[in-house]
Every structure is written in C-alpha cells, then in structure tokens.
C-alpha cells in the first residue's frame, strides 16, 4: 500500500475545490474587513507616505 493509494481512495481531487471555496471565503473576509473599516485617518496617513519624505518625518505622537 502506498500513500498514493490512500490519497486516491480519499478522492483527493475534490479537496482542491474545497480549498478553492475556503480561499474564496477568506478573500471575501478580507474584502469585507477592508470595506467595513472606518479608520480613514490611518489610510490617509499611509497614503501620504511616499510624499512625506520631503516633509518632516512623521513623529510618533501622530501615530495613534
């Protein structure tokens, strides 16, 4: 008996589909979290980062 016999007996090919569904769910979760998120200030801070190097560096105190 080989590992491949066991795996074949388990019909592992369907597992790829199960994994796909799980991935879709995880992805949907990420999207949901992202859209739901109200912390606009943090995004705004990050968004300005490439431009901020010419300005004064962000002091820690501004990070909330």
């Amino acid at each position: 008996m080989k590992l491949s016999d066991v795996m074949s007996a388990m019909r592992l090919e369907t597992y790829a589909e199960i994994a796909m569904v799980l991935f879709m769910l995880a992805f949907a979760g990420v999207v949901y979290q992202l859209l739901r998120r109200r912390n606009v200030a943090e995004f705004e801070h990050a968004r300005q980062l490439p431009l901020s190097e010419d300005l004064a560096p962000t002091p820690l105190s501004e990070e909330k």
Partner: protein, 750 residues
C-alpha cells in the same frame, strides 16, 4: 516636543541604487539586443553560421532570462532599495549585504550569459539555469531577504506603505517558487534531472512559470508603481483602500492560476478548470489596480503632456491593464485551443514585458536620474523621443505578432470541404507568417534604439554629476518596541456571552486589523501561508492521485543512448520551437496522430512539452521518417523541407558523443526511480549505448547514408527522435519477445 530629543540621524544609501540603475539599463540593452538577434535568426537561420552557440534554441533562453532576471530584476532592486529606505525612514539593514546582493546578482547573470549559449540548461522556461547557479541564486536571494526584512525591523515609520507589502510578497514567494521548481538530482557539474517527471514536472514548471510572472514581473512592479507614480505626479495614490484590495486579491488569486498554461494537455481536467476560474477572477484586481494608477493622475493630466516620466507611467499602466485583460482571456479553454503554441502568446508576453515592465522601468529611471546624480536630466527631449519610438516599436511588434499568431492558429485547424486538413504541410503555416516576423524585427529595432537613447541620457546625466554627492541627513525618532496603542475596551457588565462578544470584537477590531496593518511579520506569514496552502492544494493531488497519471504497460524508460540523445535535444533547446504534446483536438490528431497520454511521460525528467510550435509537434515523430531523412534534415533543414526556418545543426554529425558521461546520467535517472535494471551496473550503460549506436549507424548506411557515424552525437539524437511517442503503439509486454525489449525501436523505413 519631547519626541525630538529622541530623534536619530541617518542617511540613505543611494550608491547602491545608482549601481542597480546602471545595471538595469546596461542589461536592458543586452536583453533587447539578444531579443532582436533571435528575431532575426528566426527569419534568417543561416545567420547562425553553423555555430552552435548562435542558434535560436540556445539564444532564446538567453534573451528571456536576460529580460526577466537581468533587466527587470535589476530594475526591481533599484526600486526596492530606493523606496524602501525612504518609506521606512531607515538605511538598508547592511551596506555589506547590499553590495553582496548587487555583485552576486551580476555574477549570476554573467554565469547565465556564458552557460546558456553553451547549451547548459535545465530546459524549464525561465528556470533554465543549472543547479550550481540555482544555488547561487538562492544564496543571493536570502541575502536580499535579510537586508530587506532587516530594514523593516529597524524602521522608523511604523506604518508599512502598500508598496512594501508588494515587495514582501515578492521576496517570500520568489524564494518558494525558485526552490521547489529547481529540485534536481545532479548528473555532473553542469547536468541535472528534475525529481519530477512528465505531468508533474510540467505542473511544477508552470506553477513556477506563471507565478514568476506574478511575483517577479507583477507585484514588485506594482510596488514600484505605488511609490514612484505618486512621487512623479506629486499627489498621493487615488485610493489607498483599493490598493490594499489589489494586493490581497493578487496574493489570494494569482497562485492558483498556473494550470491555465496546460489546457488540453495531459494535465487532469479539474486542475486546468481551476486554473481557468482563478485566472478569470484576476480580471477584477488587475483592472482595479490600473484604474487606481490612472486616477492618481486626475487633475494632473496637463502635466503628462510635459513630463516624459508620467508618459512612460501612463502607457506602462495601460499595458498592465491590457495584458491582464488578455491573460484571463487566454486562459479560457476555447480561446486557448486557438492561441496556445502560436505567436499569440508571444505577443501577449511582449505587451506585458515591453509595455508594462519596460515602460515602468524607463519612467522610474528618468525620474531617478536627477535625484541619484544630483543634477538635471541631461536631455528631456531625448527622453521624449525614447518614449515615442519605444511606443511605436511595441505597437509594430505586437500587432504583427498577434496577426502571426491568429493566422497560424487558424491555419493549423482549418479543414477543407472534404474534411481533410487544409494545410497538411506544416511548413506552409510557417512561410505564411514570415512577413510578420520581419515587421517584428523592425518594431524590435525601434525599441532597442529607445533603450540606447536611455543609456546615453543616463550616462550624460551621470557625467554632469557633482564632484561629491551630497548626503542629506534625515532625522526621525526610533520606533521602539510595539506596545499596542489601542485603548483596552471597557467591557460593560454583561452576561458572559455578551462580554465574550465584546472581547471578540476587540480582537477583530484591534488585534486583527492592526496586526495585519502594522506587523510585517504577520503580513509575511499570511502571504506565505496563502501561497503555500494554495500551492499544496493545487499540487498534491497531481502527485498523489493514481488516476491522474494512469500507467501504460508498454511505456518503458529510454535506452541509455536515447537518454543521451534526449539530453542533446534539451541542450540544443529544441523545445523552444517544438512541442511534444498532441492535444485531444481533431485538427491535431489529424495532423500528428494519437493524442498524448499522461502515462507516456512518466520517465520524462524533465518534461519537453514546450510552449510554442515554431516547428511541428514532435511527440509522434518516432518512426515517421527513415534515419537518413533525419540526418539530412538536421544537417540542413532546407534541403528536405523547402522554406524551413529550422537552424542547421551540421556539428551534430561531426561531434563525438561523450559515451563516458552516459553512465552517470543513467545512474542519476535510476536514483529518481526510473527502472533501469541492469543498465545501472557500472559500465553497462555505455556498452548498451554503443551497441544500439552501431545498429542505428548500420541501418543508416543501408539507407544510403555515410559510414562512420556510430560515435557521433547525431546517432543518439536520431535514436531519441525515432523512439518518441512509439511506446503506446507496441504490443503489451506479455505478448512480446523479451529479447527485443532492450533493442532500439524499429526505424520506420518507409
């Protein structure tokens, strides 16, 4: 401000960025010149002058590797080293590692430029480099990773900008891809066999190949875009939220899409359907990214007409959108049936490589030049000219090659009214597209001319640099240990269940979000987990399900001589022009014969399915012609087939076959589980090979060929070609005389 008391002073390492920037443009010239050369010898094969190292099969990998790893690679490193330091407000982790990374990478490129023309190759596309170089790549990549993550660890800006996320995904995923696709058993210093065979090897290769496009040519360039586009436009990215969405969707979806390279092959149905589904879903994030990039310029469009940097970026991002629209389209099986193995794929790749990677790189270089050399760009005008001829060059190239691809695809599948192939002679479909190949040469020349202008412009800018570079000193407080700044929730007095819900909300709101957002380690782990898990679910079934590769009782290992011939086939890069995969499509079975079965490839280390048919499929070529035909055809293809574009291989009939190297090859294969039986006994392999060689040489002579070829390379190659695809036509072992099984295949002497 009590904070300022703690501020630290630091400088950025721009010397390393200057190095990478120069390497980028110099290798860019080498890569595009090599491309122009292979485009030219494709139409004029005689230009290889009978020199092995000047033939298409050996130089095409040089072109692709130079474009991806030398040009795009150095561009990525320039972008990473420049932007990472600034986004994290720190110097790189170690100047020593930076230098090691730079020189190590250049040494690898030089090694590639030497070994590939010599025919030292693993024959897996974009993973051709042999095992010693692969080890060097792994070492240099680890040095880069330490340098990069070290910089993240000592950063002074808590928040990781999304560009850094893209870089993290690149560093991690490329390491995983590189290692797993290059697991080989060496059969000498410059020869190895992959541990996978046939279907599984093909699967690993395209899992790698596709994700190399994703994580070497897409994610780091998106990082580049998200940093340099706002810089050049002077305004922040349109939507930060969208950029994060873009990131996660690529990480989640891309890794699944590899099997779309293998539609209608011997790959199991479920796998290629999965590949197709995920590829189509990739539409969404890719277009989100493109729109995000273009909208960043809203209100700044008047500046685009003034600024060559922005022009390059706009066209680059547009090509990103076009190529990522087309990619999923090509992954749809019915489209793929037409497009695969034709020049359509080549056109697709070049709209991505020249348009997206090339133009983003040029834009970045022109933006960086004044900053790095602390003077004005030498000539804005020249940069403008570069932009226009570059754009024209791409258009000529891709329009011609799309036309070539579609033309050839349609000709292959055309039937006449009697139900027979309309173009049974493959070479007819080759000759038809030669004019388009000339247009490609023209378009390619324009693009190369643009690269030359860029090089000149950068050199002249560099000449006007100040005597000593100014090194501005920056100041920022250190980050210190992350102590969590979220206020603890005040949990109201509630029954247990409700307060548990509050706790959960706290966990989700604070820990979950912020960890993702702020903790690079966690981010990296998530990327790695999602890549590894997706890969495993994709790959494991292919390896462990019996029904995926049903064994065929008549399929046997290659004889030692055939194995040596196969290795010549690999070394000469025949796979760059020939597939070995007859798809189960009527036009193909009509043209080539029985379609290919997974079980036929179980001893193919590495697989040779190929990805492009510049010449016909060879999987059923065994027995199709007499030996003598092959001898003449290999010596001068045009002599047997008028209009052939195949390069002549005269040296194969002159060069001695290295019989002594056959034993270690057979031994290495035996180590991989290929049942060689008595051939692996010391000395046996060589003896068996010599016996078969003299038999074929005799048959050749009987057919009217020259004498004295039994020790030449051509004999091994003919042995291999005559064996190809013939196993399934044989009677099952029980009915066969066991004496005959060790013999070579009867040569079709029709």
């Amino acid at each position: 401000m009590p904070m300022s008391a703690r501020a630290e002073k630091f400088t950025y390492d721009d010397a390393i960025v200057r190095k990478f920037a120069f390497a980028t443009i110099i290798w860019g010239l080498v890569a595009t010149l090599a491309g122009l050369w292979v485009a030219l010898i494709m139409v004029v094969p005689a230009l290889s002058f009978g020199q092995p190292w000047l033939t298409f099969g050996r130089l095409r990998p040089l072109h692709t590797n130079a474009a991806i790893f030398a040009f795009a690679g150095n561009a990525v490193f320039a972008a990473v080293y420049y932007s990472t330091q600034r986004l994290l407000k720190t110097r790189m982790f170690s100047d020593g590692l930076s230098k090691f990374h730079f020189w190590g990478w250049q040494a690898i490129i030089v090694a590639a430029a030497i070994t590939l023309p010599l025919g030292i190759t693993q024959s897996k596309e974009y993973a051709e480099l042999e095992w010693p170089i692969d080890i060097a790549i792994a070492v240099v990549w680890v040095a880069f990773a330490i340098n990069f993550f070290g910089a993240i660890a000592k950063r002074r800006e808590r928040h990781l900008y999304v560009a850094i996320w893209f870089y993290i995904a690149t560093v991690i995923t490329v390491a995983i891809l590189h290692i797993f696709n290059n697991l080989v058993v060496p059969a000498g210093l410059f020869k190895s066999y992959p541990i996978y065979a046939g279907v599984q090897d093909a699967f690993m290769q395209w899992w790698y190949g596709h994700n190399a496009v994703a994580f070497f040519l897409t994610t780091p360039f998106l990082g580049l875009m998200y940093y340099f586009l706002p810089k050049a436009a002077g305004r922040p990215v349109f939507s930060y939220r969208l950029s994060i969405l873009h990131f996660w969707s690529l990480v989640f979806l891309y890794i699944w899409a590899g099997p779309h390279h293998l539609h209608y092959t011997a790959l199991p149905e479920w796998a290629s359907t999965l590949g197709m589904l995920f590829s189509v879903m990739l539409w969404m994030p890719s277009w989100g990214g493109m729109i995000n990039g273009l909208l960043t310029l809203r209100g700044a469009w008047n500046r685009v007409s003034q600024d060559p940097v922005l022009k390059f970026f706009v066209v680059g991002i547009t090509f990103y959108g076009m190529a990522t629209f087309e990619g999923p389209l090509l992954s749809i099986k019915s489209v793929n049936a037409l497009s695969h193995y034709t020049d359509w794929t080549i056109a697709h790749v070049h709209s991505g490589a020249l348009g997206w990677n090339g133009f983003m790189t040029f834009g970045m270089l022109y933006w960086l030049a004044p900053k790095l050399f602390q003077t004005q760009l030498w000539s804005k005008k020249l940069a403008e000219i570069h932009f226009w001829i570059g754009t024209l060059g791409i258009l000529f190239y891709i329009v011609a090659i799309y036309a070539a691809g579609v033309t050839q695809g349609l000709m292959w599948r055309a039937f006449d009214e009697t139900g027979r192939l309309a173009y049974p002679d493959f070479v007819e479909t080759v000759v038809r597209i030669i004019p388009m190949y000339w247009v490609r040469v023209f378009g390619g020349s324009l693009f190369v001319a643009g690269v030359v202008l860029c090089l000149v412009n950068l050199l002249m800018t560099w000449k006007h640099r100040p005597k000593t570079y100014e090194e501005p000193v920056h100041e920022a407080p250190p980050l210190g240990a992350y102590a969590g700044t979220d206020p603890k929730p005040t949990v109201p007095a509630h029954p247990t269940m409700v307060s548990f819900a509050y706790q959960l909300r706290y966990f989700i709101d604070a820990a979950w979000h912020r960890v993702w957002e702020r903790r690079p380690l966690k981010l990296s782990v998530w990327v790695a987990v999602s890549v590894v898990v997706a890969s495993l679910f994709e790959i494991i079934p292919t390896f462990l399900i019996r029904s995926n590769v049903p064994t065929i009782s008549t399929v046997e290992p290659y004889t030692p001589l055939e194995l040596a011939g196969r290795d010549i086939y690999v070394a000469e890069g025949c796979y760059n022009c020939h597939s070995q995969m007859v798809r189960p499509i009527r036009s193909e079975t009509e043209r080539y014969g029985e379609y290919s079965k997974p079980g036929e490839f179980v001893y193919d280390h590495p697989f040779q399915w190929g990805s492009r048919r510049i010449g016909p499929d060879l999987h059923r070529v065994g027995g199709k012609y007499p030996h003598l035909w092959h001898l003449r055809h290999m010596d001068d293809p045009a002599s047997t087939t008028q209009g052939s574009l195949m390069p002549p291989y005269p040296w194969l009939a002159q060069t001695e076959l290295d019989f002594a190297s056959i034993q270690p090859r057979v031994d290495a294969m035996a180590m991989l589980g290929v049942p060689y039986g008595k051939d692996v006994l010391a000395g046996q392999a060589e003896q068996t090979a010599r016996a078969q060689a003299s038999q074929i040489a005799t048959e050749l002579q009987q057919q009217g060929g020259p004498a004295g070829l039994e020790s030449k390379q051509i004999i091994a190659l003919i042995a291999y070609l005559q064996r190809l695809g013939t196993d399934i036509k044989r009677a099952p072992p029980a009915e066969r005389n066991p004496e005959l099984t060790a013999q070579s295949q009867p040569a079709g002497g029709q």
